[in-house]
Amino acid sequence: MEFLRPATWAEALAAKADLPEAAPIQGGTDMMVELNFDVHRPAALLDLNRVAELTRWTAEADGRLRIGAGVPYARLIAELGDRLPGLAQAARTVGSPQIRNRGTVGGNLGAASPAGDSHPALLAGDAVIEVESAARGVRMIPADEFYLGVKRNTLLPDELIRAFWMSPASGPQYFSKVGTRNAMVIAVCSFAIALHPGERRVGAAIGSAAPTPRRARAAEEFLAAELDWDAPLEPAVLRRFGELATEAASPIDDVRGTAGYRRHAIGVMARRTLTWAWNDLRAGRTERRAG
């Protein structure tokens, strides 16, 4: 197996262009499981760990954050938890502390598992994925258009993920995951919500309950139209939001749970996270609480 170790981003893009079948590896927490069990035997590995810019994040002139694909979850939580609370909550539930010291959002996006924990938070928070190739330069892809199918994303063979862009939270955000316990649990299903009080809009997305992570669009549109931002949450609005979130799901039965259970759980998580977020908003605080 060929092992490529580019030292810069330009070298990494050139290597990927030369050898499109080379599999990138960042934290390795997905890729190595496949290698150790011989599920996958790539002709070559493209180790991105020496590309320093992938492990940096910056606050950009337009107010958004640009976070390198190789920033591990542990750093995301410690350094950006205040600005990206929904994503940080999701990151805190990934694997174990050891996995979070290595695993990255870039790797989660590369793997594009419907159960990946970062996806609902990226979707609800309007993240944009920056990908690049040597031949065609940068493409900015809204998270919403990034996932194509089970473990499939829109990356072309010569492209690499450079970063994701997200605005710091403008209101309360929550992530909720159903699993048997915290450590090592692949989500049975998950839900993320982000309130944007300035725009009187709510972002909502589901995980592990459809072939791809996806936005709960009808639920979002319903809230944009019906939510009275200056009043307590109406039970009827809450109920309808839960129903519409459930309708966004098209889950399957598998070892982790039945489709019926997943639908039920999505509705519960939708109502619960909206209630938490609404209470925070009413209490005038935007910082997160333990999820």
Binding site: F3, R5, G28, T29, M32, V33, N36, D47, S96, Q98
Partner: protein, 186 residues
């Protein structure tokens, strides 16, 4: 394909030529005879292979050795200084934090890494107040060591060892003012 790399293991430079597919765990155990990291699952799930890589706890079964060229690797064996066990190792001995011992080197490296994370103020899944320093109560210890399984079920004494280790007068934790009796309230 073979590669020639140098790992700095437990304070010593260890040059080694290996197949690029070799994991750090296999390099340590099979090529360098550093056997304190154990192979429980080769899957990232049990934590028995935990080492400190450039100071951070990682599972060595999910890292390629070639990607660690020039890195500093500390195993449980390397925590011993001049024949003296590390304070965390001593605490495990004093509290009987093991039975068969298979998971222990991983538990110890994980605990040492964990204490550094606490010192740096990193919140865990169960930390409510994300702004203040972390209070290392039993719930926090359990959560923060959740990446290490013990098939003998020595968990109660492992928690006791770390409670002991972080009790007043120890300098490893910024929570020196928290006594075990206070923790019982939470």
């Amino acid at each position: 394909m073979n590669a020639r790399i140098t790992l700095r293991v437990d304070g010593r430079d260890r040059p080694v030529a290996l197949d690029t597919r070799t994991t750090l765990l296999d390099a340590l155990r099979d090529r360098l005879s550093v056997t304190s990291p154990k192979k429980g699952c080769d899957h990232g799930q049990c934590g028995a292979c935990t080492v400190l890589l450039d100071g951070r706890r990682v599972v060595s079964c999910l890292i390629l050795a070639v990607a660690c060229d020039g890195s500093e690797v500390v195993t449980a064996q390397g925590l011993v200084e001049e024949g003296e066990p590390h304070p965390v190792q001593r605490a495990f001995l004093e509290e009987d934090g093991f039975q068969c011992g298979f998971c222990t080197p991983g538990q110890i490296c994980s605990a040492v890494g964990m204490l550094q994370e606490v010192k740096a103020g990193h919140p865990s899944q169960v930390t409510d107040d994300l702004t203040g320093p972390v209070t290392l109560d039993d719930e926090e210890i359990r959560e923060r060591l959740s990446g290490n399984l013990c098939r003998c079920g020595a968990y109660v004494n492992i928690v006791a060892a770390l409670r002991e280790e972080t009790a007043p007068s120890e300098e490893t934790s910024p929570r020196a003012e928290t006594s075990p009796s206070e923790e019982a309230e939470s």
